[in-house]
Amino acid sequence: MGEFRRVLANGKYALFFALLAALNIFVLYSGQASKHYTSNILSFGRQYKKIISEAGSGSLNDIQKSLEKKIQDFEDAFLAMDDNPEYPNPAFQPGSSDYELASNEKQAASSLLAQAQYLKNYPEYLCLIQERKERMEKFSFMRTESGFALRNVEKTARDFLPLLEVDVQFGSNEAITAFTEHKLTDYLSLIFLMLFCIRFIEDERKGLYELVHSLPRGRRWLLANQALILAALSFAITVFFYASSIACLFMLYGGSGDLGRPIQSISAFQTCTMQISISRYLIYFFMFRFCATFLIALAIWSMLGCFSEIKSNILLLAAVLATQYSMYTYIPEQSYLNVLKYVNLFSYIHVSPLFASYFNLNIFSRPLNSRPVISMLLLPLIVILIKYCLRPRYLPTTSTATLRLPGLTDIRLRLAAKMRLFGFEVYKILVIQKGLLVFVVLLYATQNSEFMPYTQLTEVDRQTEALLLQLEGEISQDKIVEIAHMVEKSKLKIASFEQAEQEYKDGEITYAEYQSQTRGEFLAIIRNSALDEVQARALYLQRTSQILTQKPWFLPERHFKSCFGFIDQERLKQNKASFTKQHRLGILSIMSVCLLVAASYSYENQSGINMLLGTTPRGDVQLRLIKLAASFLSTFMVWLIINGFEVYSLCQEIPLRYLQAPVQSLPMFAAFPLPLSISGFLALVNLIRLLNLWSVACFIMLVSKWCNRVAQATLISIAVFVVPSVMYAILGFENFKFFALSMPVSVMGMLVADFGSMRNCIVATLVMIFCAVAFIALIEYQNRNIQRL
């Protein structure tokens, strides 16, 4: 009880917990609003409930028809309103409340129509699974195949067969669907668990270990109590993060609806093979959620106790989570290593897919359903981890003694004897604060990063690339004439195909003649489209070239697109790797700077040596300036590694002469306002990146100044400067866009025409620099004016 009181008495944790719970609900609601294209999600919820109650318990066909009619009526009404500003009902105008109501009702009807269509097609979907099995068995090579593929198909068919008897029903599904799709709760719980477990370890390291360990209840009893606290915390997370989410969603969508319907009635659970009702699913989910949260908490706690230094423990935890996440995300479902994908910490972090999706593990070519395996492993894993966490522990050993290699000791001392103050600060970052390790990991991560991610090209893109390569060089009048000739020729060719088609239809030529005359029609059409694009580009570039000092070029742009992450919105999904690449590198930069700079002041605050340093002649302004310079140097190194690799990767893919072309030659920068070559543009972008990264370093220094512990400074820096970027760029939560520092640090994302412009980029950079200077001034002000005791 005493331990409960001690740990839970910290008001900061309770406040943080409440803030996370509130953030979770806020993002959940705003996510629902953007999903249903409405600014008033509560109104949408009311309309949703109204339509469901109107639909009643009619047949699916009737429901579908009535919904289709409703949507059609709305569309007609909207159309009539567009055509006639004096629409008979003046209240039904954009911006009015009636308009919003109607718009929400239409959206709700569309959502329910999609559900009705899904329910209607569900039996067909089940039949298709059975048919696929039969079809595959007919192939002789599959029959003789003793591998995973056929067995997987057979097992899938076997598992789905009982579902043919399930009677899926229409009803209120939106709440459960939103709950299942909302992943933020999982990440917020993970963040809170990590912070909470670090508190346990911090207490141990505060010098209380010896005292507590010598008390009668200071060992296993205390650890058991701490495990119980984690269990209580897991319960609190399940209630306040998850149960509150579903309760809010039920409130939003007008109640829980009929929870006795089979779970397959919800399209998100189309591949769920459990024959259970929605209510039963919720019970299973919450039970599993509680146990899984407890398991994660125990796993974090055990990892944080491995080393004596908190920083090393946090690095270990980060490495394990990163590895697990990579496996969870990147191993393909059909891979023979898919056990690593599913029997993974993230399967316990994201619990919903376990129920909603159907996956088979590949165990020595035998398919094994992942859900029972993962569920059955849960309790044994908890027992093992509890056993591990409650093991007898001894005083954490600190690496002391003589530096082991005598030669190394000598070198270090000789180095120290030659170092000036700046050298010492760099030494502190690299050696004392383990910055060298950060650089080694950064080099490894950068080297393994995909700087030129694959971009999916259509046939037209490929043809356009080929033409641009053929026409490569300055856009001259001759080239424009040449393109015009090519376009003319291509159009004639297409016209001849059309003529042949007409003649065939009129019976003037035989099918064989038609076939021979229209051979290559598809390619010709593609080439024609590509030529149109090239011609349009040439004319556009010629028009906009007046601000340039030299003529624009024809350049194949695939590699630039891939490197800069500029992808058309329509192809965003296929080429997400390229789109997020800039952000990933930005996040990597910020993360590295956090690890390198977070200790700049907090290390001295932690050890209490700042009082001593302040009494030396150089320990005042000069030392702070040198600290700033050392932080800037390490930030510069991070920038150099990441951006150096990027430029190098690009130069490997393109002929270097392309770098002399005006940047406006690339269509995505056609409107770029400065007359720069591509190399000049790259220099400018990288300079802005450096300035922004330096600004981030200043932000981190302020956090470091305010924190009394290195771990605290590191965690707060990561939470404030890295997590929003991860939420936005990697996990896709749009709400975090304006807090994502990866945007200004990677720069490119701010230059995309859809999101920003050069002006936006400059404004953002100036704001960053202004904040950085203000923060440094604040540090100086505090040193001069605030009582240091």
Binding site: G608, L612, T615, P617
Partner: protein
């Protein structure tokens, strides 16, 4: 070199840590004694400009130390009470770093570090990581860094805390041996350290100077105010005994029990009848107990 502290005041919210303190420090060793919270560390923090004063002045040869800035800090050596150090640095590297902060030339720094390592008996562990140092070793390292650059003003906060008797004597003697031409301010709880080496003793009480003088003159003032009383040892456990009555009313500086006799040494103005003049000399602890009043 003269330090003048004029009407120095330091408030922490409603709490007054130093209350209009005025003091002049010339060459020599000054020992500061006081209870916890009497203002010893606050005084050192104000002298080192680690804390912002609420009012008053600290002048060095007539110039305010805040105006002097780095010029003042060039003259200061400070040994803080807190043993915060760079754990992953070796002792020698740490001293080299401090030497750099103190603007010492590399050559001078190396020579001084070698001699200070010998003086503080740390030569053997010079290349070891500080993380493995005991409390006493850290204390000696902190002293060594304070002495780097041969500062003329030396502020030492609890310099002998945590040292074994041999090291305490060694450090005490070393401080005494380098005191010529320096102003050394030594704050401690261990009265015997001050008693043996301080030229002047300052007893602080609730942020004010309760008494100041050289150890001998302080002791002389107490000559008739320290007496020893003998009781049967059994009286120690009896709440109604004569000893218990005396213990409640008077300050006891020492108790010795031997051969069934309890000998109590009492300090005060109105001591009970029947006591014998104190055996041996009057100690600074007696003086501290007397002058610190009810604290």
């Amino acid at each position: 070199m003269r330090i003048e502290i004029i009407n120095l005041r330091k408030n922490y919210g409603n709490l007054t840590a130093l209350d209009d303190l005025s003091l002049t420090l010339d060459e020599g060793i000054y020992g500061i004694l006081g209870a916890n919270g009497a203002g010893k560390s606050t005084l050192l923090n104000l002298l080192t400009d680690n804390a912002k004063r609420s009012s008053g002045q600290i002048l060095l040869d007539g110039e305010d130390i805040l105006q002097m800035g780095a010029r003042y800090r060039r003259l200061v050596g400070y040994m803080p009470q807190q043993q915060g150090l760079y754990e992953q640095m070796s002792a020698k590297a740490f001293l080299l770093y401090i030497a750099e902060l103190k603007e010492l030339k590399k050559k001078d720094a190396k020579a001084q570090i070698e001699s200070l390592l010998v003086a503080t008996n740390l030569s053997d562990v010079a290349s070891k990581k500080i993380a493995g140092f005991s409390g006493g070793m850290r204390q000696r390292l902190l002293l060594a860094q304070a002495l780097l650059g041969n500062p003329q003003l030396l502020y030492l906060d609890e310099p002998t805390a945590g040292l074994d008797p041999k090291e305490r004597i060694r450090v005490r003697n070393y401080i005494s041996s380098i005191s010529k031409g320096k102003t050394i301010l030594l704050a401690t709880h261990i009265a015997s350290d001050i008693e043996l080496i301080a030229n002047q003793v300052i007893i602080l009480k609730r942020g004010r100077i309760a008494q100041m003088g050289d150890p001998d003159s302080l002791a002389a003032r107490l000559r008739s105010k320290v007496k020893e009383y003998e009781f049967p040892a059994t009286e120690l456990d009896d709440n109604k005994s004569r000893y218990s009555g005396i213990a409640k009313k008077h300050k006891i500086s020492n108790i010795i029990i031997g051969n069934g006799i309890l000998t109590a040494r009492l300090v005060g103005d109105k001591l009970p009848e029947g006591g014998k003049p104190a055996q041996g000399h009057i100690t600074l602890e007696d003086a501290y107990l007397y002058f610190s009043g009810d604290e």
